[in-house]
């Protein structure tokens, strides 16, 4: 049994919008992330997958549930404070490429060096700048980009810079929140390869959040499917794609367009009616490692 790096139990997060309205953005979600694995989290927009990521990073304080990182309950203020430095260096997050994902007024060198600067880490390779250059080279860019601003880079390059910044702390857990969503197909492939490389060569564990199921199938070891704040299915990749159990997963898989005109045009599609969804079901293990949200048969 591989070591459990991250243990999420019954995580719930409710956003209060006003006196009368609230959203259960995340509702009773439980999963484990093992050391050295890539766990995919998929779902449509608003399904709560980004909220999960933000709870894991202590950006949101969830309404209920427990998150343990290497046995440390990160939601407990005192435990968090005691392990603060470890948590801040060992966990890193990467966001979707957007105008606000990197500070427009900082140079690439300063962006990559920011975490080292914050934690006053003595750079192993001499100066902060050389360290930044090393990390940049690792993600496939040369040192000439050090003095450029994010606005002068393409989307794929900006995402590489964000990854370089995260890698500079040599983290154990990388939370990637839709890292390839706004990139072109050929650039997506480059970034996905980079993630795969990080995982295989350096053993980083990755929580990979995406809505592109084909990429998730290629990259991840296990996949969790979320719908309206609930985790509806969690299974090893091959099993999930080969033998989906939940109706929503089936609909989702049948909706992925396959890049082949003959196959795609003759493929049956499964519809999923929102009304069929029973959010009060129990998340049960049907076969070893394969969890499904099942109807509550009280």
């Amino acid at each position: 049994m591989p070591e459990t790096l991250l243990d999420v139990e019954h995580l719930s997060h409710v956003f209060r919008l006003s006196k009368h309205a609230h959203i259960r953005a995340v509702d009773d979600v439980s999963f484990q992330l093992h050391r050295g694995e890539i766990l995919g989290l998929v779902g449509e927009s608003g399904s709560g997958k980004s909220t999960v990521a933000r709870c894991l990073m202590n950006i949101y304080q969830p309404t209920a549930g427990v998150i343990r990182y290497q046995g440390v309950n990160i939601l407990d203020r005192r435990e968090f404070a005691r392990n603060r430095k470890m948590l801040e260096t060992r966990r890193q997050i990467i966001f979707q490429d957007s105008a606000s994902s990197l500070n427009q007024r900082m140079k690439v060198a300063d962006i990559i060096a920011e975490p080292m600067h914050i934690h006053h880490i003595k750079p192993p390779r001499g100066s902060l700048r050389e360290e930044a250059a090393y990390q940049l080279k690792y993600v496939g860019m040369d040192a000439s980009y050090l003095d450029q601003y994010p606005s002068e880079l393409s989307g794929g390059q900006r995402q590489r810079v964000a990854i370089a910044r995260a890698l500079s702390m040599e983290p154990e857990l990388l939370v990637a929140d839709e890292p390839i969503a706004s990139l072109d197909v050929s650039i997506q492939a480059q970034i996905v390869n980079l993630f795969k490389h990080c995982n295989q060569e350096h053993g980083f564990s990755i929580l990979f959040i995406a809505h592109d199921l084909a990429m998730v199938e290629f990259l991840c070891h296990r996949v969790g499917v979320m719908y309206r704040g609930r985790m509806v299915e969690l299974a090893p990749t091959a099993e999930l794609f080969g033998d989906p159990r939940h109706a929503y997963t089936k609909a989702l898989l049948s909706a992925i367009p396959y890049p082949d005109p003959v196959i795609q045009k003759n493929r049956p599609r499964v519809d999923f009616e929102e009304l069929e969804f029973d959010r009060e079901g129990a998340f049960t293990e049907v076969t070893p490692g394969h969890f499904v949200l099942q109807e509550d048969r009280r």
């Binding site: 006003s18 009368h20 309205a21």
Partner: protein, 335 residues
């Protein structure tokens, strides 16, 4: 909306208004009592200096100035509710009478100025948006920038210098010539210059506002869809863009009523126009606190009303605001 909800809505608004006015009156009262200078001065003027200590004490007692300030406020409020706001020191008259004799003049100047500004700005704004970055737009923008840099009082001075002193076409001061109080033509003649200044000073700000709002709208995607379905430029600009910008423009104008009025105050002063504005300056200069207090209250009430009306227009006309409410209450609650 249900009838009961509607009642609740207006009730809430009325309550907000009343509370605001109360808070305002407390604030103004306290601040004016904190002001330096002997309040006796505002009742007895020069005579105060000749009064003996005992006389002063007696006068204070009589006026209730020795009571704690909240007692004074309550008394003021009681009198005010009866319509008694005290006596203006300078005019030796009831404050209400002094203001009553002037307010009509200000309403004429400010009211006409406001309507002209509102309509003119709308027209100019649409014109500019229609010809974005072409010469009419650029010319108007340049002219507007220049106008916005000229302080009102100086524009008034230059107007007087040119049209009254040099060319002698128009009168330079007052609301009417002596003995012509009811002569409309004479009044109109006196109104031309001040009105021109009031409108010129504000016109551009609002025209620019509506221009920018319209241009912001023309950048929305639905404009492209409108074009793609074959709508003409006129239909898109007036039927879609203007329709979307109008609620916020109208509510902006409602909030701006005090600004236009504030502008007329300065113009009134330069043209010695007998209105509320001139009165405000005088009351401030002569420490005529009873008068100043009521004038401040009046301005404050206009501000509060403007804000309220602006808010109501925004909430009730623009479906986008309702949209925010709907998404908050019904759509997202999944449980």
């Amino acid at each position: 909306m249900m009838k009961q909800n509607l009642l609740l809505y207006w009730g809430k608004k009325a309550l907000v208004f009343l509370v605001s006015v109360m808070v305002l009156s407390v604030a103004v009262f306290y601040i004016s009592r904190l002001a330096p200078g002997d309040p006796l001065m505002s009742y007895y003027g020069e005579r105060t200096e000749k009064m003996s200590v005992e006389e002063k004490e007696a006068a204070r007692e009589k006026l209730g100035l020795n009571d704690p300030i909240h007692v004074q406020y309550v008394r003021w409020l009681q009198n005010a509710l009866k319509g008694d706001f005290g006596i203006s020191y300078k005019y030796k008259q009831d404050v209400t009478e002094v203001i009553g004799s002037r307010i009509g003049n200000t309403l004429i100047l400010g009211g006409i100025g406001f309507v002209l500004t509102f309509l003119g700005a709308l027209g100019l704004g649409i014109l500019c948006a229609w010809h974005e970055d072409k010469w009419p737009d650029q010319l108007l923008c340049k002219g507007g920038t220049l106008l916005s840099c000229i302080p009102e009082f100086w524009l008034s001075l230059v107007m007087i210098l040119v049209f009254s002193v040099t060319l002698q076409w128009l009168p330079s001061s007052g609301a009417y010539d002596v003995g012509h109080k009811h002569d409309i033509l004479n009044r109109a003649e006196h109104l031309i210059l001040p009105l021109t200044v009031v409108v010129l000073e504000h016109l551009w700000y609002y025209a620019y506002m509506i221009r920018n709002k319209l241009l912001e709208e023309t950048r929305a995607d639905y404009v492209l869809l409108g074009k793609a379905k074959g709508l003409s430029k006129k239909k898109i600009l007036l039927g879609h863009c203007l329709r979307n910008s109008l609620p916020s423009y109208i509510s902006l104008m409602a909030i701006s009523v005090p600004h236009v009025l504030g502008g007329t105050y300065i113009v009134e002063k330069v043209f010695s126009y007998p209105g509320i504005g001139t009165l405000s300056f005088e009351s401030a200069q002569y420490h005529d606190y009873n008068l100043l207090m009521v004038l401040c209250m009046l301005t404050g009430i206009v501000v509060i009303l403007g804000n309220l009306i602006g808010g109501i227009i925004n909430e009730r006309i623009d479906p986008r605001i309702k949209a925010a409410e709907v998404t908050e209450t019904s759509e997202v609650t999944w449980d």
